[in-house]
């Protein structure tokens, strides 16, 4: 994988997850958290297990490149099974890759899909550097898919 690992240390101060947004301000008083003054930085999802036959599908790499990587693992790599993982928007692409692999194998390959929930953390950084408070985070969930693409064992 050529995914850059973010240098952000994972030691997060125990801040309560979730930020309660104050009600919309009407009187013109200073609001404690104005969304305009914050940038949203998405952290990378927690470190993932990576075996040689794990493929993490993303939306940045060219589709055909990811597809041929999977094909090489199954054909040249001598793997009898690979795992294709997709998160959020990449779920569609992961399914597409798995179905393409199956279609081009003339029915030799089988698919077994599992779904899960992945917890993601966003950092809210104040636009104003003087506002040096403890960093705020927001936790949210996203769906993920894990597709095993395999040659069934001859019975």
């Amino acid at each position: 994988m050529t995914e850059p690992r973010s240098p952000i240390s994972t030691s997060v101060p125990p801040t309560p997850p979730g930020i309660i947004m104050p009600p919309a301000d009407v009187s013109g008083m200073t609001v404690e958290m104005d969304p305009v003054e914050y940038t949203l930085r998405k952290r990378l999802p927690r470190k993932l297990p990576k075996r040689r036959n794990d493929v993490y599908v993303n939306m940045k790499t060219d589709f055909r490149a990811q597809l041929s990587r999977c094909q090489k693992l199954l054909e040249g790599g001598g793997h009898r099974e690979i795992c294709v993982h997709g998160l959020g928007l990449a779920i569609n692409r992961a399914i597409n890759i798995a179905l393409q692999l199956q279609a081009s194998s003339q029915g030799a390959l089988q698919l077994a899909a599992n779904t899960s929930t992945v917890e993601l953390v966003d950092d809210l950084e104040p636009e104003d550097p003087d506002e040096a408070r403890e960093p705020m985070t927001r936790t949210r969930n996203n769906s993920a898919i894990h597709i095993k693409v395999f040659y069934p064992d001859p019975q």
């Binding site: 997850p17 599992n114 779904t115 949210r140 894990h146």
Partner: protein, 193 residues
Amino acid sequence: PGQGGFKKVCRTEEDSPCPFPGLAPGVLEMRVKEGSKIRNLMGFAMARMQGDVAGAGGDSGGGSLRQVIFSGSGRAVTKTITCTEIMKRKVGCLHQLTKLRYKGVREVWESQEGGASEMTVHRTIPSISILLSKDPLDPQEPGYQPPETISALWEEREGADVPQTASKRPLSLSPHSSFPDSKRVCLGLEDGA
């Protein structure tokens, strides 16, 4: 978003056989669409799956369903998975079977400049169908997931190459449906909140 002055006027999915043969008739099928509100889908589905108070260990399924299917295609696939994940978290102890396939879709596009011309596009899109069941399902079926376990596909297995993904984990038989005692930490935040 006009595509060269064309606007999509309708989209019909071609019929395909049910991916779960041999199901009991009258299973609720939730067809998730791109614009469906998760709140509405879940409100409807949860009411039917939680028909009676959880905790009755016996055979007293007082009007509540045993099984539900969530299906969606194209841009609705992620939403379909999100719905099943929410339901698994809220109901607990559900057996899951996931099936993937291609679906044929016919789209009719109409010219926006004096709608005389019309064209039909046929495309094939990935679709997902997920069966959630209170009753056990065949664990040998590809795409089966036992209740309240984190997928063995996701976790690093100790054995380098285990052929079967049979996760031998004691199933929690507690009939509660609030917080499953899985490794997942529920922080009381709903998806999309």
